[in-house]
């Protein structure tokens, strides 16, 4: 059931067994899973069904560190959350991502990949993906294109799956609406987290609309699932009973912010005889749209003390019909509408998309022409590629989200994002490219020109808009905000969902892991709450 706190007659008291804040991939998944297990869930969303300027303005903040990022437009404060502009690439974190790393501080989750595997498998369905298979060995008999014959002890072919992408608002609105055990409230902005007097348990949440309707939400258990920036902001703003903020006894809330460094650099020149089609275009087999990249083996990554990276080969064509320089907001809006219509339903945010497409009609026309031309013209095999990646950073406590003096309409402090990108992060990526180049040369396939200098240009790194790490998971309360079960160490009944609990970022896009962790958390809450 979905209600709107702005409507007349909205109650001043709302109650359930579990209260979940946030309707993005984490919050929505937790709510649906709990409801299926018979739990009564209060699901709170600060925004409405669609984009609203005044609601989105609550996300405004400052960028004070690395500039190639933003804090407002990269998120969506509305039903379905940021899945509304997710691009859909998925992979699980590697087993190595969970392990401590010699010579690199801050690595090591309190759980292992095997702990998440059953939940990853279930998460596939939530995101409209194919079977839970991410090992090239699982696909090589099905996909008829060859992998590059590189030394398998050094460089391997990495597998990603492409979600349509799933828009949680579009796909799950009906399920939430029809679910009697979910009591979903729109425009319910969280303004305070209250602890029971003399205890370390949350007793209630205060929520409010922008128009001033206030309600109190009571439950046995509470889950914050508002994203990597907002989860930290909520905890830091809850200072009425904990001056440093809830869960911030060790000053860790907001710290260890990490993101993926989106970088397109380094040229790969392959011999004419080399077949690299596997890597240059997505492949659809067995119900899955697959994309393939190159990555170092975990053993080599560990030995070289590198962070993880998976590099995609982006073809560089001489013929401009293969250029993608028409891809701007207009084209993306246009293609979203076309995809939705082709699936037989109305696109979400139709008016916005339509207007974006109209504003960029030139790019849309260019894009349509080139898409058609590619199908008519004889295919051109590329032999020159750039490496594109969402590369991992090493955990850094100085990379952080913190409160600033500016306040939003609820009197909540806004945040500053001080994202740090270090020369060491880029030098590790450079070394990764060097090792890939060495493997390509050793296989006699071609040559590689490094695109990252020995004194790296930090401006080459752009945010992947994957906000992670601000309430990181660690078994030691002095090193992490939540425990292995995603519970805030210092609060008995407060849990965190989403990528803010990631101890490290890996190089997989985070949504699949967010949903897997959400299912795992829901299992635990259903069993204990």
């Amino acid at each position: 059931m979905i209600s709107d706190l702005r409507t007349g007659g909205a109650p001043a008291e709302i109650e359930g067994e579990v209260c979940v804040v946030g309707t993005g991939p984490a919050g929505m998944t937790i709510a649906l899973e709990l409801a299926r297990k018979g739990r009564r869930v209060v699901l709170l969303e600060g925004g409405g069904d669609a984009y609203e300027d005044d609601t989105q303005d609550l996300y405004r903040g400052e960028v004070v560190g690395h500039r190639n990022i933003d804090v407002a437009n990269s998120r969506l404060r509305q039903f379905g959350g940021t899945s509304g502009h997710w691009t859909g690439l998925c992979a699980p974190l590697d087993a190595l991502d969970f392990e401590p790393r010699e010579g690199l501080g801050g690595f090591g989750w309190p759980i292992r990949r095997a702990d998440l595997d059953p939940f990853y498998a279930r998460a596939q369905g939530y995101l409209d993906l194919g079977p839970y298979r991410y090992d090239w060995e699982d696909w090589r008999r099905i996909v008829p294109l060859p992998a590059l014959p590189l030394d398998p002890s050094r460089v391997i072919t990495d597998v990603f799956q492409q979600s349509p992408p799933t828009r949680f608002a579009e796909k799950y609105h009906g399920a939430v609406e029809a679910e009697p055990r979910i009591d979903c409230w729109l425009h319910a902005n969280l303004t305070d987290v209250r602890l029971a007097e003399g205890s370390n348990a949350v007793s209630s949440l205060s929520v409010s609309t922008l128009e001033g309707h206030v309600a109190t939400v009571r439950a046995k258990t509470f889950v914050l699932a508002c994203g990597g920036i907002e989860n930290a902001r909520i905890l830091l703003n809850a200072r009425a009973q904990r001056p440093a903020g809830i869960g911030n006894e060790h000053g860790l809330v907001g710290r260890y912010y990490t993101d993926h460094m989106t970088i397109e650099a380094t040229t790969v020149l392959l011999a004419d005889s080399v077949d690299a089609r596997l890597y240059s275009e997505s492949q659809i087999y067995d119900g899955a749209e697959l994309q393939f990249g190159l990555r170092l083996t975990p053993e080599l990554t560990k030995r070289e003390r590198l962070t993880t990276n998976s590099a995609f080969l982006v073809p560089q064509h001489a013929n401009e019909i293969y250029s993608t320089d028409y891809r701007n907001h207009g084209w993306i809006a246009f293609s979203s509408m076309v995809k939705a219509f082709s699936r037989g339903h109305m696109p979400d945010r139709l008016a916005e998309h339509y207007c974006d497409a109209v504003d960029d009609l030139g790019s849309v026309a260019t894009g349509v022409f080139r898409q058609v031309a590619r199908r008519v013209a004889p295919p051109e095999a590329a032999h020159v590629f750039k490496l594109r990646q969402d590369a991992e950073q090493a955990p850094n406590p100085d990379s952080r989200v913190y409160l600033i003096d500016a306040k939003d309409r609820f009197g909540q402090n806004r945040i500053a994002l001080d994202w740090r990108v270090s020369a060491d992060d880029l030098l590790r990526l450079r070394r990764t490219h060097e090792l890939i180049g060495q493997a390509i040369g050793a296989a006699g396939l071609g040559r590689v020109q490094l695109g990252i200098a020995e004194t790296p240009d930090l401006d080459m790194a752009f945010s992947g808009y994957h906000h992670m790490g601000t309430t990181r998971m660690h078994s030691d309360p002095r090193r992490g905000v939540v425990d292995a079960n995603c519970r805030v160490h210092s609060v008995e009944n407060l849990y965190i969902g989403g990528s803010s609990v990631f101890t490290t970022g890996g190089c997989a896009n985070p949504t699949l892991t967010i949903v897997a962790l959400a299912i795992r958390l829901a299992e635990r809450l259903a069993a204990t709450a």
């Binding site: 060495q438 040369g441 050793a442």
Partner: protein, 138 residues
């Protein structure tokens, strides 16, 4: 000036005959002495004669700790298994294939030089340097 006597003339002819005989005998005997004279210069034809090749050669020569000259380069290439075989190979296609194998082995064993960001095998860079040095000495 002393007069050319018959004795002097016969002595000179005798020396010339003896020298010729020694040389001829040496040539015959040396045919049976195993020697390694790799054809370093035939490999240089594999390095393209262009601006890129010249820059690679210059980069290697400037990066090298010791001053590289043709004998040192030849000796270095003769010390690598596939280039040593290539020097004795008369078929150009087989020679190129052997050099390619040596380049791959260089990469596998980490013998890599970097020029303008390009990762190149030491062998291909040495060939470019050799071609450059040949041009300079020609």
């Amino acid at each position: 000036m002393a007069a050319v006597t018959r004795r002097l003339l016969l002595g000179s002819v005798g020396l010339a005959v003896l020298g010729g005989a020694a040389y001829g005998a040496s040539r015959v005997v040396c045919r049976f002495v195993p020697r390694n004279h790799p054809d370093f210069f035939s490999l240089l034809e594999l390095a393209p004669d262009g601006e890129a090749s010249r820059r690679v050669g210059e980069a290697l020569l400037s990066q090298s700790d010791m001053s590289l000259d043709l004998p040192r380069l030849a000796s270095s290439l003769a010390g690598r298994p596939f280039t040593r075989a290539a020097m004795g190979e008369t078929c150009p296609t087989s020679r190129a294939a052997l050099v390619k194998d040596q380049c791959a082995l260089d990469f596998a064993e980490g013998r890599i030089v970097m020029v303008d960001g390009w990762l190149l095998s030491e062998t291909e860079a040495a060939l470019c340097a050799g071609r450059l040095l040949c041009g300079a000495t020609a």
